[in-house]
């Protein structure tokens, strides 16, 4: 095992896959010589050259459409969109083209495309640089959506995503860019399958399903609760679509309580979907399921307000305590 940072795990995944398969190319704003706004593509241009590492103009609709065209004709493009909010500028090539072409064309093509982007809040980036849009993409048949929360999952999921023959949206967390964690040593081909959740902490009193950087908040909340004798099971879905409901249902069957935490809005979000699925499965619950999410408002720039906006360990713990109170 080796310690590495979240963004360095991304660089390693890109490097390993570009070395393994010459059809993999990287394109996006400033991914080339500059090495990226977070140093996330540093060194790739020097190794793989201008042909395979392409700086693009600030034209998300155009270069994502180009990536789809390239994916139809023999390449396996990886596209960077620096901030998740900017994906709204290329919804057409993602939603109308990449997601549907295989279906509309009778299975003639796959679209092996991985788009990664940095989203979420916690860095006072304001309403146009802090969004979490996982549910938007998960709502589209034909797209896959992954949301890794640790360096090792970044490495394994991005590598698997690049090898997938479908369009994969990889939602990374800006707040976690500099976070460190253990990853398998260089030379290990570390793959994490899409659609497989990870139990980050075992527990028997409540299931905390936490996505993206909320995994860290959930783990902190679990520590707080443990001091009070409450054992929370923290599950990281890692992949939003496909979603590993099997792992979630098995956990809720044991705990009888479910709390879903994400930094995307609650309305029509991951929590709504998971809670509906648990209800449909007829899992007996000891308390009504709960969601901990931001309010239905844009993410403010204001540091004091953004601190209130994002689910905190204290707020999660408070919600869980209420679930355990006798009715």
């Amino acid at each position: 095992m080796a310690k590495t940072k979240y963004y360095q795990a991304l660089t390693r995944a890109l490097r390993e896959e570009m070395q393994r398969d010459e059809r993999v190319i990287l394109m996006g704003e400033d991914v080339g010589e500059s090495g990226g706004i977070f140093a996330q593509t540093r060194g790739l241009y020097a190794t793989f050259g201008a042909n395979r590492v392409r700086d693009t103009p600030i034209a998300e609709n155009g270069f994502v459409s180009a990536a789809v065209g390239a994916a139809m004709t023999g390449l396996r493009p990886v596209v960077e969109i620096g901030f998740e909010d900017f994906v709204t500028a290329c919804m057409d090539p993602l939603v109308n083209q990449a997601a549907k072409l295989r279906y509309m064309l009778g299975g003639q093509v796959g679209i092996p495309l991985l788009l990664y982007t940095f989203g979420g809040g916690g860095v006072n980036a304001g309403p146009q640089h802090s969004q979490s849009l996982a549910a938007w993409f998960a709502h589209v048949p034909g797209l896959k959506v992954i949301q890794p929360s640790t360096p090792t999952d970044v490495l394994g999921l991005v590598k698997s995503g690049i090898r997938d023959d479908n369009p994969v949206i990889c939602l990374l967390s800006k707040k976690l860019i500099g976070s460190a964690g253990d990853v398998p040593d260089l030379g290990t081909d570390h793959l994490v399958p899409l659609g497989k959740a990870d139990v980050k902490r075992a527990g028997h009193d409540v299931t905390l399903l936490c996505a993206g950087q909320m995994v860290q908040a959930g783990l902190k909340a679990a520590s707080l609760l443990a001091e009070e004798g409450i054992e929370a099971e923290v599950i990281d879905p890692r992949s939003i679509s496909p979603l590993d409901m099997e792992t979630v249902l098995a956990s809720v069957l044991r705990t009888g309580r479910l709390c879903v935490v994400h930094e995307a809005h609650g309305f029509f979000g991951l929590g709504a979907e998971v809670i509906a699925s648990v209800c449909e499965a007829g899992v007996p619950l000891k308390a009504p399921p709960r969601r901990v999410t931001p309010p239905f408002a844009p993410s403010p720039f204001t540091p004091s307000l953004e601190a209130l906006y994002l689910p905190s360990p204290e707020r999660i713990a408070q919600t869980v305590r209420a679930m355990l109170e006798p009715a």
């Binding site: 609709n61 279906y103 299975g107």
Partner: protein
């Protein structure tokens, strides 16, 4: 007609050096497109084709002339008005008809319909329902060719309506920066959806826009298949040599409405009259006299065979079965 961009004359069949073989091929393709669109229109009126369709009657010279310059390994990307492009690049009219009839044997297993006909093996990357995306997808295919070091090119078809979309600018800018092997082919058919050219385009010719990207732009008579062919051929040869993109605009005319059933009340009497006179097939018959070795009676034979091929395709497609219910959820994802 003089082309500033390529510094050559495009005077018609003889001066353009059109051989009898090429002339026959161009004529045959135009006749097949004409018949395909006529049959589609008839079948649509009879209620046999679900959904809605956009026809390219009057625009046959564009698809035929442009695609005749290509090899099988070259690609095209097309638009919602794409039947002609697909036929001209080598798609099978029977499987195309099957798609219009929503049958399992169609190119999209009957699930895509008129706007999503593709034959990837033949280099047809698809008609497309989103205006302008042919240009983005097209530069992506050209990027593939460049990265893979293949000596092929792409033609991205679009209309003057798409020329106003952001992606048109984004794609042409990127194609120029990366010197991609692509020809942007604008079929300026006088109307974008239900409004005339001037509602959509700020300059007289879309080809003028090429100046903004630093590559050649040329406007050609879209009624003249030989002129279209000769012009695109130069652009294709240039792109194949590594010379980068070009923009070719063909001034053509859409006989029918935006979609079949369009009442076309936005068209003037003069517009309706033009649909009776603007005819690339008639013009080609006249010009054929200038092509050495081409006999007038050959054209009748070519036309009759073309009609027969399309009529047989439609008859076959009409008799097929609908896709099974299992097709509803097939091909959403590729096996990982």
């Amino acid at each position: 007609m003089k082309s500033r961009a390529f510094n050559v004359s495009v005077p018609g069949a003889q001066g353009a050096g059109i051989s009898a073989d090429v002339a026959r091929r161009l004529f045959r393709t135009m006749c097949e497109i004409r018949r395909f669109e006529e049959v589609a229109s008839e079948r649509y009126k009879l209620g046999e084709l679900p959904g809605f369709i956009h026809l390219s009657l009057g625009q046959e010279a564009c698809a035929a002339g442009a695609c005749a310059t290509l090899e099988r390994g070259d690609y095209i990307t097309s638009t919602h008005r794409g039947h002609g492009h697909c036929l001209a690049k080598g798609a099978d009219p029977a499987r195309m008809m099957a798609e219009l009839f929503a049958k399992a044997q169609g190119y999209g297993k009957g699930r895509g319909g008129s706007m999503h006909i593709a034959d990837v093996a033949a280099g047809v990357l698809g008609a497309n329902g989103i205006v302008g995306q042919s240009m983005g997808l097209g530069i992506g295919a050209a990027l593939s060719l460049q990265v893979q070091g293949r000596n092929n090119v792409v033609i991205a078809f679009f209309g003057e309506g798409a020329s106003g979309a952001g992606i048109a600018h984004e794609a042409m800018n990127m194609a120029a920066i990366w010197k991609l092997p692509i020809i942007f082919f604008c079929e300026a058919n006088a109307f974008a959806e239900l409004s005339p050219f001037g509602t959509h385009v700020s300059v007289p010719d879309v080809a003028q826009r090429a100046a903004a990207y630093g590559f050649p732009g040329i406007t050609v008579d879209g009624e003249d298949v030989f002129a279209v062919y000769a012009t695109v051929r130069q652009a294709v040869e240039r792109a194949r040599r590594g010379g980068g993109p070009a923009l070719v605009e063909a001034k053509t005319f859409r006989w029918h409405g935006h979609y079949e059933g369009d009442p076309q009340n936005y068209k003037s009497d003069a517009d309706h009259a033009k649909a009776q006179t603007f005819d690339p097939i008639s013009l080609a018959r006249q010009q054929a006299a200038d092509v050495p070795g081409l006999k007038a009676h050959e054209l009748d034979d070519i036309e009759s065979k073309a009609r027969g091929r399309i009529d047989a395709a439609a008859a076959w497609a009409a008799g097929l079965q609908s896709p099974p219910a299992s097709a509803l959820t097939e091909d959403v994802y590729a096996e990982a």
